[in-house]
Symmetry: C2
Subunit: 257 residues, 2 copies
C-alpha cells in the first residue's frame, strides 16, 4: 500500500496460451513475459485467474459422468438448475447457504460463500458438457507458483489467485482472492495513528481482495481475457504464512448465516 | 477494461490539504495536480474518498448535540455502542439489518448495506466528539466533481467516490463505490462470446467497485492517506446516466434480508 502518493502499475501479460492439464504455469508465464519484453521485479504481485490454475490442475468434471443423488435432485428442483450441475456444486460445498429460483449459494469447502461453488462453465472447453472446479487448494497453488517464479527470476514476489464473485448486497461481480502467497491477505492497520493522532479502531484491509479486484480491471471477462496481471509499485510486508484462507470470515462471525 | 494486455496506472495525488466545509474540491485537486507536475488525460478515472467529499459538504455531526430516542437506546444496549452514535447511524439508515455485540449493520438510505451507516470517526476532526456522515447524494457529488474537472481540463473523465466497507462473509474492508459518474458502475458483458464461442451467461461486472478497490491500494487507510487517485489507461464506455446507485442490489433481490 503506497503512502507517498506514488504510482502502481497493473500490467496485463498477453500471450498466455489456452491452458491444458499438467501445463507448467510458471514456465508459460515466463515465456509470455519474455515474448512481450516484460520481466518480474522484486516486490511485484502476480495476479493469476483461478481458471487457468484450475485448468493446469485438470479440475474438469464431465457433466455426463455425474449421477445426481436425492439431495441434488431436490435442490435442483428448487433452483431450476441441471441436477448434475447441482450435484457437482454440492460436492464442492460444505453447506448450502441460499436456494432460490436460478440461485444456489453455498459455503465452499474452502470457506468462502459464493454462487455455484465457483464452478465455471464459460471460457472452458468446447462442447459445453465440461465444468471446471476451483483449484483443490488455491493457497497451496499460489505458494507453488510463487516459489517457482521466485526461483526463475531470483526475486521475491507475491501471488494472488483471483476469481469473480457476486456479492449478497451489491450487483455485479468483483475480483476476490481465492488463493494468495507472500503477502498479507488481510492487512491489519489497527493501532496506527490517523491524521488527528487518534488510534484507528478497525482498519483491517482485505488487501488480497483489493489486489484481485484491481487485476480484474485488466484481466477482463470475455473473449480476449488476460489471465495474468502484474501489479507493480506497492510497498507491502512479505508474509510467508498468510493465505487467502485468512479472508474467510469464520462461521461464528458470519452475520448472515 | 483492457483487452490488449495493456497497462493501467494508479497514480496517487499527494498534497491534498485537510478539507474544510465549503472547500472547492476540484480547485484543490487541480492545485495538487499542478504542484506535482500531474495532469488529467481524456478517459482518466478520478477516484476520490467519500471522506473528503463529506468534509467539503460539511457533513459533520456533533455527538454532544444528539439526543438518542428510545429505539436508539434499545439498539445501543444490544450492540454496546454509544446511544448518541447509534442515533446518528439510525438517522442515516433505512432499516436495521443486523445487531450483535459490537456490530450494527444497516441498510443505508442510499441503499447499500454497511456497518454503522458508513459514519466515520477516524481521520476526521480533533476532539473526538465529531462524526462524519456520507455525502448527501454521492452520485450527484460525483457528477458535480466530474463536470467541474472536465471544464477545467477540457477532457472527458469518470469519477468514483469510494468508501471502505466490510463484507458479510469476508474479513477485512475493501474499497467500494458509493458514488460515480461518467462510467458504467455496472458493466454488463452478457451476450459477448467467450473463448470457446459460447455466450457468457452472467458477467455483469461491478466496474465502479473494482475501480474503488484498486484506488484503495494506493489511497491507504492511515496517517499519510492519499484521498485522490487517478486511474489511467482503461478503455470503458462513457455513461452519462449511470451512478453507483446502480450497484445497490434491490431488496427483493437481496438474498440475505
Amino acid at each position: 500500500m503506497r503512502r507517498d502518493g506514488g504510482r502502481v502499475e497493473l500490467i496485463g501479460v498477453p500471450g498466455i496460451p489456452l491452458i491444458q492439464t499438467g501445463d507448467d504455469l510458471a514456465e508459460l508465464i515466463a515465456q509470455a513475459l519474455q515474448a512481450n519484453d516484460l520481466t518480474l521485479l522484486d516486490g511485484d504481485v502476480m495476479a493469476v485467474t483461478s481458471k487457468i490454475v484450475s485448468k493446469s490442475e485438470g479440475r474438469w468434471v464431465d457433466l455426463d459422468s455425474v449421477m445426481p443423488d436425492d439431495e441434488a435432485l431436490r435442490i435442483a428442483a428448487q433452483c431450476g438448475k441441471d441436477p448434475r450441475e447441482v450435484a457437482i456444486i454440492l460436492s464442492e460445498a460444505e453447506s448450502v447457504s441460499r436456494v432460490r429460483q436460478g440461485v444456489l449459494i453455498v459455503r465452499h469447502r474452502l470457506g468462502f460463500v459464493c454462487a455455484n461453488a465457483g464452478i465455471d462453465h464459460s471460457n472452458t472447453r468446447p462442447g459445453g458438457q465440461w465444468r471446471l472446479l476451483l483449484p483443490v487448494d488455491p493457497d497451496a497453488s499460489a505458494r507453488g507458483l510463487r516459489q517457482n517464479l521466485e526461483r526463475r527470476f531470483e526475486i521475491k514476489i507475491g501471488v494472488v489467485i483471483s476469481d469473480s464473485h457476486g456479492r449478497p448486497f451489491r450487483m455485479g461481480t468483483v475480483g476476490v482472492a481465492v488463493g494468495s502467497a507472500g503477502l498479507p491477505a488481510r492487512w491489519d492497520l489497527r493501532g496506527k495513528p490517523d491524521l488527528c493522532g487518534a488510534r484507528l479502531q478497525i482498519t483491517e484491509v482485505g488487501f488480497a481482495d483489493e489486489l484481485a479486484a484491481a487485476a480484474g480491471l485488466v484481466s477482463g471477462q470475455s473473449d480476449e481475457g488476460i489471465p495474468v496481471v502484474i501489479i507493480r509499485g506497492l510497498a507491502y510486508p512479505v508474509d510467508e504464512s498468510a493465505g487467502a484462507a485468512d479472508l474467510v470470515r469464520p462461521p461464528d462471525l458470519d452475520l448472515y448465516r
